[in-house]
């Protein structure tokens, strides 16, 4: 076993999946947002909704395309770097990913073509239906991925036979309570990502004094939606904490930064955990709150990390901090969304440039929250890949050498940086150019199946000039 190869493989998986998750979480939210816009357009007949729809459809096209490209790599990596895990868990995780490919990818692909090029070819109700189907496809995709990961977090419904996980009860796997709190948590996070990006774009236009009508729609719908969803997300976040508390006590202790059993337990707000000394430095803690959060009681005993042998503990520092960053992002977003919604309600949002700036600058927050949330879940699961059953160190392809993985990691870093820098720059250019222009009817030669081509089909006057400038 090559320990460097193991570390590099983990880095590679973390890098590729972090890059990947950015784009689906954005496009899941956007697909739902597009459905809402199209429904509003049909219902009210206001052209502004259509204008906003066409604009976000272009952004959606690019984000969707980048998600597709980076997703293919994920499907291969289980086999290349984690072949022991792939062989053992294949009978359970293979089918879950197969359902994702069969159900979600083809649903997305077929209706996405209509979305991009079918406006003039299908009746309005069918166009709305197609939009909803794309949103449904992205949601299905998220479901099967969460089913996969939830099984790795809390494996159920299997027996071990000949060194492999053999499914005996699929209903336990598909109706695992863990899955049904984590899937909504992820879905809400994606909706919030969409909502905040939309609101931030609206705020940006208002700050620049352009596209006022569209900007108001974006800002109002984005912030109102976020204000509600953030509350629901808080609730599901709590339920997620409950499952961790119940099924993964050592992860819970790491997140809490609790080294020893406490009764009643305090809640550590901030500290620098020291795994060597098994204690926290510079700790700020609230007495009793830990018991309240963990068990909804004032005097419960909460377990500490030292109850578990060191080789079964996750690396404490990462989940401890990533969890706090995630919650911090949630708090800031909550503040922005509520104050913003209040000001919109009072009709004073345009006068409050501070809030517009805050809203604009908060667009990275949902992405950071999603990434840190996943780091908490995944790093907190260590040292296991299938929690409590298969260690990450035992899951790696046994003959993999550090040199091989170093090469692949470098290649992925270079290729990804290259294409994503251009993709992100392109999205930025579209956002800066903004909605507007005439509502271009789709060309006669419709071209579905090219996720990113919508961008070229409806050239923005401003965007083209920027393009020519490079």
């Amino acid at each position: 076993m090559d320990l460097t190869a193991l570390l590099l493989s983990r880095l590679q998986f973390a890098f590729t999946i972090s890059f990947h998750i950015i784009f689906p979480s954005f496009s899941i939210g956007l697909a739902a947002w597009l459905t809402v816009l199209e429904a509003l357009h049909l219902w009210t007949g206001r052209p502004t909704y259509r204008q906003v729809f066409e604009f976000w459809l272009k952004i959606f096209g690019v984000a969707f395309g980048l998600g597709v490209v980076s997703g293919i790599v994920m499907g291969f990596q289980f086999g290349t770097n984690w072949s022991v895990h792939a062989r053992m868990a294949g009978p359970i995780q293979g089918p879950l990913l197969l359902y994702e490919t069969f159900v979600a990818f083809f649903l997305e692909a077929s209706f996405f073509g209509i979305l991009l090029f079918g406006r003039s070819r299908v009746p309005p109700w069918f166009y709305l239906f197609s939009t909803a189907m794309v949103a449904l496809g992205t949601t299905f995709s998220a479901f099967w991925i969460m089913a996969n990961n939830s099984w790795m977090q809390v494996p159920v419904g299997y027996v071990m036979e000949n060194g492999a996980f053999v499914p005996v009860d699929w209903s336990k796997i598909l109706f695992s309570p863990v899955l049904w709190v984590r899937f909504p948590h992820m879905l809400l996070a994606s909706f919030l990502t969409g909502a905040f990006c939309v609101a931030a774009t609206g705020a940006w236009y208002l700050l620049r004094g352009i596209f006022a009508a569209e900007a108001h729609i974006m800002l109002r719908m984005g912030l109102y939606l976020a204000a509600v969803l953030l509350l629901v997300q808080g609730f599901f976040g709590h339920l997620n904490g409950d499952y961790v508390h119940h099924y993964q006590p050592v992860k819970f202790a790491a997140i809490e930064g609790r080294w020893h059993d406490e009764q009643p337990a305090a809640e550590v707000l901030f500290a620098i955990p020291d795994p060597e000394a098994e204690t926290n430095h510079y700790q700020i803690a609230v007495p009793v709150l830990g018991s309240l959060i963990g068990s909804m009681s004032f005097d419960s005993k909460e377990v500490g990390l030292t109850d578990f042998p060191p080789q079964d503990r996750p690396p404490v520092i990462i989940p401890f901090f990533t969890f706090r960053i995630m919650v911090g992002c949630w708090l800031v977003m909550l503040l922005v969304a509520w104050v913003g919604s209040y000001l919109i309600h009072k009709g004073r949002i345009e006068q409050s440039r501070v809030l517009l700036w805050l809203t604009f600058l908060s667009f990275p927050l949902p992405f950071i929250a999603i990434l840190t949330g996943w780091y908490t879940a995944e790093v907190g699961r260590q040292p296991w890949v299938v929690y409590g059953v298969l260690r990450t160190a035992d899951a790696m392809t046994p003959f993999l050498t550090a040199r091989t993985v170093a090469i692949s990691l470098i290649v992925y870093c270079v290729v990804y940086s290259f294409i994503f820098v251009f993709g992100t720059f392109y999205i930025y250019r579209l956002l800066r150019a903004g909605p507007g222009g005439r509502l271009v009817q789709p060309p006669a030669a419709a071209i579905p199946n090219r996720p990113m081509s919508v961008v070229d089909e409806h050239p923005m006057p401003g965007a083209d000039r920027v393009a020519a400038g490079e």
Binding site: G65, V69, I72, V73, G75, F76, G79, T80, N81, S83, V84, A86, R87, M88, G90, P91, Q93, G94, P95, L97, L98, E100, T101, F102, V103, F105, F106, A109, S110, G113, A164, V166, P167, V168, W170, T397, F399, L400, T401, R403, T404, I407, S408, V411, Y412, V415, I419, F422, G423, P443, A445, A446, I447, P448, N449, R450, M452, S453, D456, E470
Partner: protein, 328 residues
Amino acid sequence: MVMFWVAILAVSILLYVLLDGFDLGIGILFGLTRDETRRRAMMSAVAPIWDGNETWLVVAGVVLWGAFPVVYATLFSAFYLPLLLMLAGLILRGVAFEYRYKTERMRWIWDAGFAGGSLVAAFIQGLTVGALVEGLPIANGQYTGGEFGWFSPFAILCGVGLCLGYALLGACWLVKKSEADLRDAAYRLIPYLSVGLLAFLVVVFAYALAENLQVMSQWLERPYLLVFPAIGVIAALVAAASVRHRRDGVPFYMVALIFVAAFGTLAISFWPYMIPFSITIEEAASPHSTLAFMFWGAGVFVFPLMLLYTAISYTVFRGKVRPTAGHY
């Protein structure tokens, strides 16, 4: 149940080879011309469908993982570096479809990515097949070849061969889809590519005889299997005649038939092994509870829908791509 998933896997791989085969082939041919009009026309001939074509690779991958996890784990880890190159190639050629039209100054980069990525992906796929035919070093169900266990002159030869094959398929697709200048250029390429491919087949056959590869024994034991190569020969003759008479629609289907014949030949050479000659289909198959779970949803209901969607997509985009009606 096992056989059902073998069939689904075979159909998925075959569809991938045929569909992505011609668009990778066009990517390879793309590198041979500098003419911007031709390049645009070549892009347009595959632009609407390449993404769907590539999805069949993902389908084959997940079927392999779900139904035959041992094969998925063994092959993907054994071909670590080749697969890395293939994925990088596929990513670069994929983004080229969009990015090349975003810039004038940097277009050469994306064009190089398109041609190079296509070439690398095709080469790796051929190499993989070649290495499998020759037999991977496997002991007790574990790959033992290290980083370069797949490397051999024969595997390299097969890589080159598949590049030629895909290029031929691509040229035939261009003949079918394009007009005037590009069509004529493609017609002129077909004889060269065909002779190259033929030479490759002769060398492969000679090598297999000389090295006494294990696949050969399959053929000696079951001579009736020669029907597949025979189909290939007939298809090649029809293709040659149709090229002579400039029947635009025919060569592509004939070359595709040659690919089907070659695929059938290979599949039967491997039978009943999944990784020749160390892991059989039965050994590799997932437990019944897994196969049944996939069968009663994805297999029976969704798979036909996927085929239907592919058919609809190709029906919508049938006919010639007019060179003047470029979408950019």
